[in-house]
Amino acid sequence: MVYMMVGITGAIGALLRYLFGALIPSTYFMGFPVSTLGINLSGSFGLSWFFTWVTKHPSFPDWARTAIATGFIGSFTTFSTFNIELIHLVEKNHLLYSILYFICSTIGGYLFSRLGYEIAKNKD
């Protein structure tokens, strides 16, 4: 049961990530990989919001927790594409963009996951 659900939600997460990239006319907005950044930041927010929310709702079924967190959000966000895009920016001599992308992802990722946690924690 849980394997099937992780498979299905994992597929949905990957498809949504693809659509997100396809919907933004240029995946690289003015040379900046905005879609992956948006995906990773929103996913970081979503995961810590969900994990914090779920600890306050212990009756929430375990399989659904795994399907949403490991399957859907885990598949939606990506680390491998982030690395490739970072290398790509350096390769194209957009050194400033690559540094900016790295900072936005790392510090932004922390801030967004912190925000998700705080919102879920303080809401009753």
Binding site: V6, A11, I12, G74, T77, T78, I84
Partner: protein
């Protein structure tokens, strides 16, 4: 067709990540070996695919689908946040540094291995 390839690759990627993370359960006072291994291997594999210049179909299946779903950014951020909250600052620094430096290095390495293997 492309959508189907991404969906199947994504499902497989998520399942592989789920299986590996079950072997290495996450805890607030231990190095998250599961997520770490997953992200490094996935970054290496994506670099390999690009170095090999595989065709679009394989890229949708293994690149966007499998590697994209297998590796995860949100779990990394969650684990970092947990380390910060638990005041595990040395673990946090180690995890952060190793993930980002080895992630980039493994992608570069994968790219050159792919170029070498497929040329």
């Amino acid at each position: 067709m492309n959508i189907l390839l991404i969906a199947i690759g994504g499902a497989l990627g998520a399942l592989c990540r789920f299986l590996i993370s079950k072997y290495f359960p996450s805890s607030a006072n231990r190095f998250p070996l599961g997520t770490f291994i997953i992200n490094i291997i996935g970054s290496l594999l994506l670099g390999l695919l690009l170095g090999c210049m595989v065709n679009e179909k394989w890229m949708f299946f293994l690149g966007t689908g499998f590697c994209g779903a297998f590796t995860t950014f949100s779990t990394l951020q969650w684990e970092i946040l947990r380390f910060h909250q638990e005041r595990q600052h040395s673990l946090l620094l180690l995890y952060l540094t190793l993930s980002y430096t080895l992630g980039i290095l493994s992608s570069i390495m994968g790219f050159f291995i792919g170029k070498f293997m497929c040329s």
